[in-house]
Symmetry: C2
Subunit: 445 residues, 2 copies
Amino acid sequence: MIEYRNLKIALLGAGSVGSRVAQLLLEHGDELASRVGAGLELVGIAVRDVDAERHVSLPRELFTTDAESLILSADIVIELMGGIEPARSYILEALNSGADVVTGNKALLALHGTELFAAAEQVGAQLYYEAAAGGAIPIIRPLRDSLAGDRVKRILGIVNGTTNFILDRMDVDGDTLEGALATATALGYAEADPTADIEGFDAAQKAAILARLAFHSAVPVEAVHREGITSITADQVERARRAGYVVKLLAICERVVDPVTGEEGISARVHPALVSRLHPLAAVHGAKNAVFVEAEAAGDLMFYGAGAGGLETASAVLGDLVSAARRHVAGGPGVGESFTAYLPVVDIGKVQTRYQITLEVVDATGVLATIAGIFSDHDVSVETLEQSSAAAAGPAASPATVAETATLVIVTHRASEQALAATVASLAGNTAVARVTSVMRVEGA
Amino acid sequence: MIEYRNLKIALLGAGSVGSRVAQLLLEHGDELASRVGAGLELVGIAVRDVDAERHVSLPRELFTTDAESLILSADIVIELMGGIEPARSYILEALNSGADVVTGNKALLALHGTELFAAAEQVGAQLYYEAAAGGAIPIIRPLRDSLAGDRVKRILGIVNGTTNFILDRMDVDGDTLEGALATATALGYAEADPTADIEGFDAAQKAAILARLAFHSAVPVEAVHREGITSITADQVERARRAGYVVKLLAICERVVDPVTGEEGISARVHPALVSRLHPLAAVHGAKNAVFVEAEAAGDLMFYGAGAGGLETASAVLGDLVSAARRHVAGGPGVGESFTAYLPVVDIGKVQTRYQITLEVVDATGVLATIAGIFSDHDVSVETLEQSSAAAAGPAASPATVAETATLVIVTHRASEQALAATVASLAGNTAVARVTSVMRVEGA
């Protein structure tokens, strides 16, 4: 074996991803060294409790509780401890000491990305974060570099494996949300407290990261509109299935143009949506993730793979480590992030999309005209309208309502959230409408 | 608008991709400049004939026939002229003058990649080539960087849009090869001389590039085993369909282990193969491309999009241009390619895969035992065997043979090409076998 000079690697955190990174680095160190042209020496792993149980067995002498000393001894620091503090301070210390940093900390990047990238650029260091969105799926480099000469129009991402698993079970097995969540928990796809996943917080963080990259603009995570999947019913999923759709929780990052001023802006939002079964995203099953990108020149692209998992995510971290190490060997400063397009994030009310609205209406003459009138009053154009007796409307319909009401399923053309909300409010207040059963956005047309 | 210093960009070639690159660069120059932090000034376009008709209208004063002077004036040279010479000499001149180079020239990279990468590394320049495989699909950076810390096990790529269009037509519409090729030509998916596509030369060049990246080893294009789609019949496609498969032309790059010595090597090959309809590659229709990557840690990944087209490929070229420009602004040398794993490319005879063999056999007792014996004599293990009367075997069976022969469809377990070839030779020579109708590899299990 060729002898190289060694680069010193510090690892912060030894959870499911961190322990796998350490293990693979120790096992494949020689192979990675030959790719880099320098040895990759894991000099220590900073943890809170040296004696805690790990996912994989690692040499005890690598562990330390003294993260600060470890950081100062390293050429490259890998932060996999998660959370905001002390992760943020540690990364800043590492960058300021001239080390490159690899992180998979999406919460931190979504909240403090601008500060961290600025710190890296200041000292000519580089911050790598392929693991922060899409797990093992290479999506950061494609957006940051491969598509940097193009104009991204829209990203539709299935970026949370837990919710995709749950919605897929509901779709394929006709399971309820509670049943599918219980299965996800039993199989280890959902955590004991699933809030971050099912309420869309995890997906919103990834949306903020992807939107910043795609549109070269700072996108604060607070500006990402967020709806989880907790209100999705088995009935909605079944209705969607019959209409040729599947329900997916999407992270959507979209370039939008104000129809009045012509000004460009960004919409970043996370919500459940109906996706046509013919769309490539409809075929993303189980806990898999996929990011569908529509670009002006490149057309439609899709990136598919495992969005989570300790071993899978470790692949992304080690890819970043090799990149950082290669740059160290070549010499020269890091290449900064670009977010000087300064596009504003627009309010969800201004976003335009298509909608499917399911209503229970009084089964009487003139009702259709009333309903149609409400849509046209709000300038929301109807694409299709389907009427069926309530009996065919699925398990939610009670026998008592069969004779008196009918079910209307209306799909609109593109309309603003604002106009749609006003339409739905009018519908709900009209005596012809017994119930607004469901309002779902339709994406990926 | 902020004033930046300008980077001088030279373009060699103004064909379908080159003219689009020039157009987009002129249209979106300001936007790209803000991403880079420097202006991108297209200083000239070298062509053979200044007055030739172009795909898009470009300022006449940009054109020149003096490529050498243009190259020497540039910070970044974009080579999109294609072919081996003078492209190779021009790229070497550019690199030696200290310019970074962006190319989409797969033929050149497949043949002279090692020389060109070495020249770049020598002077600290960088050679970018995202457009050389997969068109608009970001696949080079994911393999080169994102997966650089992982071990790729196998790549299955649909990397030629023309042949995928033809095979898709045969599958979906039951068309013949000739009919589908005529449609492809009429729609502009196939060139007047389709040899490079349908004989697999184009796919073999991409396989060489992908295998080099995935396995960090030099892979000469001559070492890529190549079979085109010209012998694929409507009958084979129909049989495949009924058995739950679809026929795809695959570029396969695989890490293989010699069963005797335990030594690692590479198989790089292009041939038609049966792919299960449940595999994500089966859903890649029309002229779309997709690269399916199996890695040890990351698991299964897929990259999907437009594999060709002037505008689409221009996106990849401009992404490379922005990367090169960002590096110029940051300063510092380029990061070299890694191909020091030195894995040998093994002969196709040593490759193991599964096979589907279709035979017409004499319909008599004892024949099944004879056939089974031939397989076991060659240590090829049978996974499934299906017998049907010749009448059910599809349009190729003539009425005269109905009474006398039966059709056997045999799917094997993994076996070496060598053992399979010997088995097929024995089958063909046996009096019980009227005809070996088809031998197809089965991939992506």
